[in-house]
Subunit: 213 residues, 2 copies
């Protein structure tokens, strides 16, 4: 291990520490391209930091990408946490929740592909970590909204696991299907109008399963 | 190139040709394990064929795995084609279609992970091929069922692309989420009861979007 690394990491002020700089540089690079291919030397060049710092802070490139998913997801999960506590009708919360998932994928165009890549290619340690910091809070928040609706007598009781996989799957697949969007539908980019219409479509799907007849 | 290959391929009778043997050997191996990791030497050993034949018939391991997806999907797509032509109510066709997707993922436990892996890691040529042989026929068949329902006055007109991504995404995500099923819900295996209940849940989601009030 290069003994200079901890020292050089210490020089960077806390508010914009080298881990943050590396994550932001990676995010900036991925934002500009249509893939999740990024090399350590590109990150190093863009951040102005030695690529050895990636190994020092994140262990590996996978570790860095996982930390980026965690950073981006944290913002979205924070908003969800806040949404759960809002005093708006449960049906409105479902709509805002669906919008939150779809807007997160729009905001970070690399995020969906990154999550799928990490989950398909990584060892169990990484998939467990994603389940812990990403899926579990999402599931817990959804459950609170579902229970609130049931308690208020406006939602039917549904299997929360089925609700999770079907609704998150519906949000996810528009983004995961970028290849078929392009080749089958000729739709390369999700326009704001299309995004809003899809949020409405999936919200109605979800509420169709929940609303009492 | 090994000149013995075409000759040795010719010895195998047509009905059980070496490409078929290689695909079946790969399928058999993947059936038994909880991952899509398989080596050329394992396939060679299990099929009793020289691993050079993989390169000869499929170009690469990716080519072999793509051919396996194509083989497995062909069965399911053939059934869907037959379903579209059946004289049953459109709502029943939607149920059978949802069951068809979910049962295909149950029948070939490696299929979901294989599709996600090929789509996340491959060059555009492969993703285009998957879109062509897999997504396009699925989209076309769905559209026929949707149009039939509209023509019969039992379905509302919905955006077929939105319908495709949300319903296929809902079916897909239960399987893609194997990691979170396990870590978050403690559900390692999809039991026949759970499978039937999920088919019912997603069918009702789909029909909720389609049924005229």
């Amino acid at each position: 291990m290069n003994l200079a690394m901890p020292t050089s990491a210490k020089i960077i002020p806390k508010r914009n520490s080298s881990p943050e700089q590396l994550l932001q540089a990676t995010s900036d690079i991925l934002m500009k391209r249509n893939s999740i291919e990024v090399s350590l030397s590109e990150i190093s060049e863009s951040s102005g930091l030695n690529s050895a710092l990636i190994k020092y802070h994140f262990g590996s490139k996978s570790g860095l990408l996982l930390a980026l998913v965690r950073r981006d997801a944290a913002t979205a999960l924070g908003q969800l946490d806040w949404l759960v506590k809002m005093s708006v009708p449960p049906a409105k919360k479902i709509r805002l929740h669906v919008a939150g998932i779809i807007n997160t994928y729009i905001k970070y165009p690399y995020l969906n592909q990154l999550i799928h890549n990490l989950l398909t290619n990584s060892e169990e340690k990484i998939t467990k970590e994603i389940a812990d910091f990403f899926v579990k809070p999402l599931v817990d928040s959804q459950l609170k909204i579902l229970n609130e609706g049931v308690d208020q007598g406006v939602f039917r009781r549904v299997d929360p696991m089925f609700f999770y996989y079907s609704i998150v799957g519906a949000c996810d697949h528009l983004f995961f299907g970028r290849y078929s969007r392009k080749f089958v539908y000729g739709v390369d980019e999700i326009t704001p109008t299309m995004k809003e219409a899809y949020i409405e479509f999936v919200s109605e799907l979800a509420l169709g399963a929940l609303r009492k007849e």
